[in-house]
């Protein structure tokens, strides 16, 4: 398998006006491991994730990918667009709303980054795109436009688009939250395969089963704070913090019938 990245976050803060979305976040994401972030809506999970590839600019602190600071050259000096793009090349991201480009077929969606960013020839990019789509089980859908695919298939195309770039780190922002329940499994199973291959993954999710079985560590967030980071067992089955207990109680009540 390919090299896997590590991420170090130190004292990361993020404000939207006066509202503090992230409060002094310290988080180590070891290479080749799966880190799941859970917590109530609006707790800052997605914001934290988006700071890792600097889609969201954090206001203070440091986010380092393999030791390299992302987004800034110095505390007050933003990194050039070119260098930021270079760093992003090795970070894949999958979004809640898939965000496929509707005017391109599945294969074109995957090949686009290979051609424009990796500067591959069209033939090479097409070959790589077909392989990536086969890997997510969509070999027969390469010529389909997103409008002809189910939500689960669209999300798998989005995963193929990210992994075709051979990232060393994958960010998943609630990848199954927009899916009908019966389509969640196909996406999680692709993610499980990636995790098995030793890809560093950071996953914001409400799928506690996935967190319990696949994650190497689970972080719980509330009101912009990273309350606790620990093994899935300690967070999900033997939580000590009252806030985690209360969150999981609500979650269980909602999911029991």
């Amino acid at each position: 398998m390919l090299a896997a990245s590590s991420v170090e976050m130190r004292k990361v803060n993020k404000y939207y006006g006066k509202f503090q979305a992230l409060k002094d976040i310290d988080l180590s994401i070891p290479p080749g491991k799966v880190t799941c972030l859970i917590g109530p809506s609006g707790s800052g999970k997605s914001t934290l994730l988006r700071c890792i590839n600097f889609l969201e600019a954090y206001d203070s602190g440091e986010v380092r990918i393999d030791g390299q600071l992302i987004g800034y050259d110095a505390p007050d000096k933003k990194m050039s667009g070119r260098r930021l793009r270079e760093m992003r090349r090795s970070i894949g991201m999958v979004f809640q709303q898939f965000n496929l480009w509707p005017h391109m077929t599945a294969k074109e969606n995957v090949a686009e980054g290979l051609i424009r960013v990796r500067r591959m020839s069209k033939a090479d990019a097409d070959r790589r795109a077909s392989e990536a789509l086969a890997k997510v089980g969509l070999a027969d859908k390469i010529a389909s436009h997103p409008s002809r695919l189910s939500g689960g298939q669209q999300q798998r195309v989005a995963i193929a688009r990210a992994i075709a770039m051979e990232p060393r780190l994958m960010l998943f922002d609630e990848p199954t939250s927009a899916l009908d329940p019966e389509l969640v499994g196909e996406v999680l199973s692709v993610m499980r395969t990636l995790a098995g291959e030793g890809m560093t993954m950071v996953v914001v999710t409400h799928e506690m089963g996935f967190a319990a079985h696949v994650a190497d560590q689970v972080g719980f967030m509330e009101k912009g704070e990273l309350v606790s980071v620990d093994s899935p067992d300690r967070i999900l089955h033997r939580p000590e913090d009252a806030r985690i207990q209360s969150f999981l109680r609500t979650y269980r009540e909602r999911n029991s019938f």
Binding site: Q97, N99, L100, H103, E112, G113, R116, V117, A158
Partner: protein, 220 residues
């Protein structure tokens, strides 16, 4: 009604119609191009430049086309801008249409979801690639109905060019009226020509729309 005058004036009317189509087509094309540039400036340029562009939009949208043409054609020479009627008319149409086209493009760009742009950023695509490969194709699709609609409005604005003696259709119709006193016939011909032109544009627009949105409509 006395239709026989049409035999005599037919050629000049057709020529006028040809000029109308020419002015409309080029004015629309250049106006769209300028509008697109303005919309991109509004989206990407530094703040001071967007203010200048915004002022331009306000001034052009806030004044009548007629006045703009007068200023351009009769006022232009005072500052060394001497243009023949036809080029002056084309330039006038281009300027007049550009802020409206800019606004149409702006709303088309806004219809492109942030997520689709972010997905491109996340894989490290440059802004120029994002514009060419994502923003423009998707934004233009959203903007198309409004673009066609405003192009149709512009067909009828071309008659104002007769004021600065551009030999377009209305100019010829007025000449024919003045020489033969057949006002009704002349203006009916004018109406008929415009109706045909507008109908053609709107049909082509609908075809185009159906064709390029084929893949964008969600499966039901």
């Amino acid at each position: 009604m006395e239709w026989s005058v049409l035999q005599q004036y037919g050629p000049s009317l057709l020529k006028g119609f040809g000029n109308t189509i020419l002015c409309w087509a080029l004015g629309t094309l250049f106006g769209m191009a300028l509008g697109l540039v303005i919309a991109l400036i509004q989206r990407y340029a530094p703040r001071w430049l967007t203010w200048i562009v915004q002022a331009y939009i306000e001034v052009i949208r806030g004044t009548p086309f007629l006045v703009q043409l007068f200023v351009l054609y009769y006022g232009g020479p005072l500052v060394g801008l001497r243009l023949d009627a036809l080029p002056a008319g084309l330039l006038g149409l281009t300027i007049y249409g550009s802020p409206y086209f800019a606004e149409i493009f702006r709303s088309g760009f806004r219809a492109v979801s942030d997520g689709q742009i972010e997905a491109a950023r996340a894989i490290g695509m440059s802004e120029s690639h994002i514009v060419r490969r994502i923003l423009l194709p998707l934004g233009l699709v959203s903007a198309l109905p409004a673009l066609v609609n405003f192009s149709i409005i512009l067909t009828k604005e071309t008659v104002i060019l007769s004021i600065i003696t551009v030999p377009e259709l209305l100019y010829q119709v007025q000449r024919m009226s003045a020489e033969t006193f057949r006002y009704v016939e002349a203006n009916l011909v004018l109406a008929l020509f415009f109706w045909g032109l507008v109908e053609t544009i709107s049909r082509v627009g609908l075809r185009l729309e159906a064709r390029i949105t084929k893949h964008l409509i969600e499966r039901t």
